[in-house]
């Protein structure tokens, strides 16, 4: 049996080959592979001594260099990392902690004060000295003597590397397990397909809780490339994004389409800025064709423009290199063809049906929720995506959803999660949330029936949701009704509701 080349073992090789090369940039900081490996070694030794091999470690930090150190330290321990986006509301973070039931939380002193009531051991990252805070509040400082004898854990294909939490339709965040095989398969494909080397510089726009980030960190780690970590304050700051591309000579950009469109809209994303880019990759939602044409004008002819497709449960499973012919059409570019070794099947006799994916990219399963059909499929390395697609001239095209999950700016949103949140708002008797799509935008509209004596104001609804759910789930508009329209079966009539929006 040949040895399994996990993302961890290739990272170790990279650290030996390119010790002095910069692995990470963030704000004014940078870190070499050698220094990164030292921290990972030290932290993973400590985690190992705390018997965290095979356990779950939740990371609650701001985006930055320490976040990536933490991720690698978890993997080097043989633990599963559970990334949390610290910019989300505390209520949601607590909900993820409750679902994830981690054995350790990596955080800093600031954030730790917000989760005082959580009875789980902490690892606190501190400039002068990192330390554990045990459940009984005992502090154990890290031994600064480098004990680098212990080798990194040797990952096996079925080990769960990460659990990524996404929106759940019942109001409970849904954990998707990501195995070492999933990651290694995807990263190998990406590195070969893009011909990445140690000379590349990758952007990391996505949150570490979002599957896009696995490419940014682990593809770079495999080849010795650098990753520029974009902080959550910088994520929506177009000037900083554009300056960063220049400053770090970014060669490979990967983000959701809306971020690229935002940069294009400034007129500042010109050839001078984009000259170092070899690849512009987008994923997470449909890129409106008109906007994609505008983007194409901003990048060199030699720069590849690719649409990567796949839900968190499969990560990238289909891809398409955008051609000039694609851009002449009046509909979105295809989601393309499956990666080598992946099977894509349309679950229907009709031309349009649900896309089912089979292969090494498919998750071993959900961590905390039951989904009868997919539980069965996951056992056979299959996943029903819930996306309706058509197959035309050798390419798959995305059509729509089978359910009421929506994508807004690349964020996966179950409308049921917003329903569940608003149904407990004081004064609310009934609620239904819809996503209204026009040519230019998608809008979340909440239809609310107030209790008799109550008055519901748009801003108070927004305030209520913003304290509990991520900002992208806050309804854009709120309509108050005397009652929700029902059809003959007594169910909410969404057609009528749509007409009221």
């Amino acid at each position: 049996m040949t040895e399994f080349n996990s993302i961890l073992s290739t990272f170790e090789v990279t650290c030996k080959r390119f010790p002095k090369k910069i692995a990470l940039y963030c704000l004014e900081e940078s870190l070499s592979y050698e220094a990164l490996q030292d921290s990972v070694q030290q932290w993973s030794n400590a985690f190992f001594n705390e018997q965290l091999q095979g356990k779950r470690i939740l990371i609650y930090l701001d985006k930055g260099i320490d976040y990536v150190k933490s991720i690698y330290a978890c993997l080097a321990t043989g633990a599963t990392y559970i990334p949390v986006d610290a910019s989300q509301p505390l209520e949601r973070i607590l909900s993820i902690i409750e679902q994830a039931k981690p054995d350790l939380i990596i955080t800093d002193e600031n954030k730790n004060s917000t989760i005082n009531n959580v009875l789980i051991s902490r690892f606190l990252i501190n400039q002068s000295a990192c330390y554990f805070m045990k459940e009984d509040n005992k502090l154990v400082y890290l031994n600064n003597n480098k004990n680098s004898n212990r080798a990194f854990y040797t990952s096996k294909t079925d080990d769960v590397a990460a659990i990524l939490f996404t929106s759940g339709s019942t109001g409970v965040p849904k954990g998707v397990k990501v195995s070492h095989q999933n990651l290694s398969y995807f990263i190998n494909w990406a590195v070969q397909s893009l011909n990445l080397t140690h000379k590349d510089v990758l952007s990391n726009h996505a949150s570490f809780a979002f599957d896009l980030s696995t490419f940014d960190i682990f593809a770079a780690g495999q080849v010795g490339a650098a990753t520029w970590i974009i902080t959550s304050q910088q994520q929506q700051n177009v000037a900083e994004l554009i300056n960063g591309i220049k400053k770090y000579s970014v060669t490979t950009w990967y983000s959701v389409p809306s971020v690229l469109s935002m940069m294009v809209a400034t007129n500042a994303l010109d050839m001078q800025v984009t000259k170092t880019l070899r690849h512009v990759l987008f994923a997470g939602e449909v890129y409106p064709i008109g906007a994609l044409r505008e983007l194409k004008k901003c990048i060199a002819e030699t720069c590849s423009l690719q649409n990567w497709y796949g839900p968190t449960e499969t990560n990238v499973c289909l891809y398409h290199k955008v051609t000039n012919d694609d851009l002449k059409k009046n509909y979105p570019v295809p989601i393309g063809k499956p990666l080598n070794g992946i099977d894509a099947v349309i679950d229907s006799d009709k031309p349009i049906g649900e896309l089912i994916i089979y292969g090494a990219c498919v998750t071993p399963g959900y961590y905390n929720v039951q989904d009868k059909r997919n539980n069965q499929l996951h056992k056979n390395k299959g996943h029903a995506t819930g996306d309706l697609v058509r197959f035309e001239n050798g390419y798959y095209y995305y059509q729509s959803r089978v359910d009421d999950m929506v994508k807004i700016n690349g964020h996966r949103i179950e409308l049921g999660e917003i329903d569940a949140c608003l149904s407990v708002m004081p004064g609310v008797k009934a609620v239904a949330v819809l996503c209204i799509t026009s040519d230019f935008q998608q809008k979340l509209t909440a239809f609310i029936v107030a209790k008799e004596e109550s008055q519901i104001n748009t801003l108070s609804v927004k305030q209520f949701v913003s304290e509990r759910l991520p900002r992208y789930m806050v309804p854009n508009s709120v309509k108050c009704l005397l009652q929700l329209p029902k059809n003959a079966n007594g169910k909410i009539d969404f057609k009528v509701l749509r007409g009221l929006a």
Binding site: T266, F440, S466
Partner: protein, 82 residues
């Protein structure tokens, strides 16, 4: 006053005209009243109302976080132009 016009514009465009709870320090982005795409509509509105051109360098979440912040940005740019 520009700040009044701005508040009315935001209430009309993004809150179905409900201005009663909209304060000058209400968090526009955190409450998803204004999103990253509609910032550009605000930039157009500012230009139309005051003639001030907001450069790319000024388009960031801090400058558009509340009515007060947008107003301060416009005042600052007007002073710079003099």
């Amino acid at each position: 006053m520009f700040i009044e016009k701005l508040r009315n514009y935001i209430a009309e465009s993004y809150l179905d005209g409900q201005s009663d709870m909209l304060e000058n320090d209400t968090q526009l982005l955190a409450l998803n009243i204004v999103d990253s795409a509609s910032i550009f509509d605000l930039v157009d509105f500012i230009k139309e109302q005051t003639g001030v051109i907001v450069s790319m360098m000024e388009i960031n979440p801090t400058n558009f976080s509340s009515i007060n912040e947008v107003n301060a940005l416009v005042c600052r740019l007007q002073e710079q132009a003099v």
